[in-house]
Assembly symmetry: C2
Homo-oligomer: 208 residues x 2
């Protein structure tokens, strides 16, 4: 089982390898070049690439496509993850619109909201439904992931409902800690963590 820090580094390597720098049109890259871009240690990058089965070619360096494929395979980005979204507000709308998710294997199969004014609204091929319809959707095909983008006050109740419907992986954007059974995996995406770092940094620079 790979460590969280390695997973995070792999995501950053992937960003560098898919960005449209002129160098990325080249078939090979050097770990030193990626290290410089990410302010990282060259040795760490080589270790990480070896950990996903990628080694350099003498005098050429690492093959770009090979490294990208190995990272995507390791992270499971080439799998299909069927996901539902609960909360079609400002944040939910942005997530539903994000074309980037398809590249990570996320396939939206349902969007739910408690506000009847939003029911019937289209987001791509999907139509917003009341959460009472969740069990119908979950019964048809296994849902791997529920994304929670509702206000904090509603998040625990929503979590209870999606877990009851058989969904065992939750991505929570509401700034609170969910209580779930131990088999359920929750990833909290708390924007306040980034804000905390920025705010602390700003305070330090204003008042060292």
């Amino acid at each position: 089982k790979l460590k969280h820090s390695l997973l995070e580094r792999l995501v950053h390597y992937l960003h560098v390898l898919v960005e449209r720098h002129p160098d990325n049109e080249r078939e090979y890259f050097s770990s030193a070049h990626v290290a410089a871009l990410l302010h990282m240690d060259d040795t760490q990058i080589r270790k990480d690439l070896a950990a996903v089965g990628v080694r350099g070619y003498p005098r050429l360096g690492f093959r770009t496509l090979e490294a990208r494929e190995a990272i995507r395979r390791t992270l499971g980005f080439n799998c299909r993850h069927r996901a539902i979204l609960v909360g079609a507000g400002h944040l939910g709308g942005a997530l539903a619109a994000y074309k980037g998710f398809a590249g990570y294997g996320i396939q939206w199969v349902g969007i739910f909201d408690a506000d009847s004014d939003k029911h019937g609204t289209r987001f791509g091929r999907l139509v917003v439904q009341p959460l009472s319809r969740l069990h119908n959707v979950a019964r048809k095909r296994e849902i791997h992931l529920a994304v929670i983008a509702v206000p904090s006050g509603a998040a625990q109740d929503v979590a209870n409902q999606v877990v009851t419907a058989g969904i065992n992986t939750l991505w929570n954007f509401a700034p609170m800690s969910l209580v779930v059974p131990s088999r359920v995996y929750v990833r909290n995406e708390h924007i306040s963590v980034g804000l905390g770092e920025l705010s602390y940094h700003l305070k330090q620079s204003a008042d060292p």
Copy 2:
């Protein structure tokens, strides 16, 4: 200078202390209770609270308001951070609408977009302007933070412009690494990191 991991834990304590659990209406809380909610070690919480100058009262526990204020003060959430947003699309729109930011000291003073169709659109008290107007806004009062919510292909160019305008702290939501002068601080908010973890976890549970 506080470590990143401590800053992150402080943000999570704050979430627990401001969530509307019936316990949070109590004047005091126990570190053991917070530890249980966050699946953490009680000793760590006590150490962290001591680090921000908060200690427990015998037989009572920690004072909720005292702990909240100390954490907010440490993180700089009670300061005013003047921020601009570049990119008034799906994500930018969600960020501009987020009432939560005010509680963290973020005060939007400008919203910019390259799309002339969006110029003049209102977001709260602000109107979307072309990025060419950035220098006017920056000249009037110091801008502490630029939030970048434009497509990857445009992000480096936008970063160059905001740095030239004198902004030294950037919050980057585009999935790529920005190149900036060493005095400039960049916080990357890469949703792909959370996706990477989730995707890896889903793959492990499907195929252990």
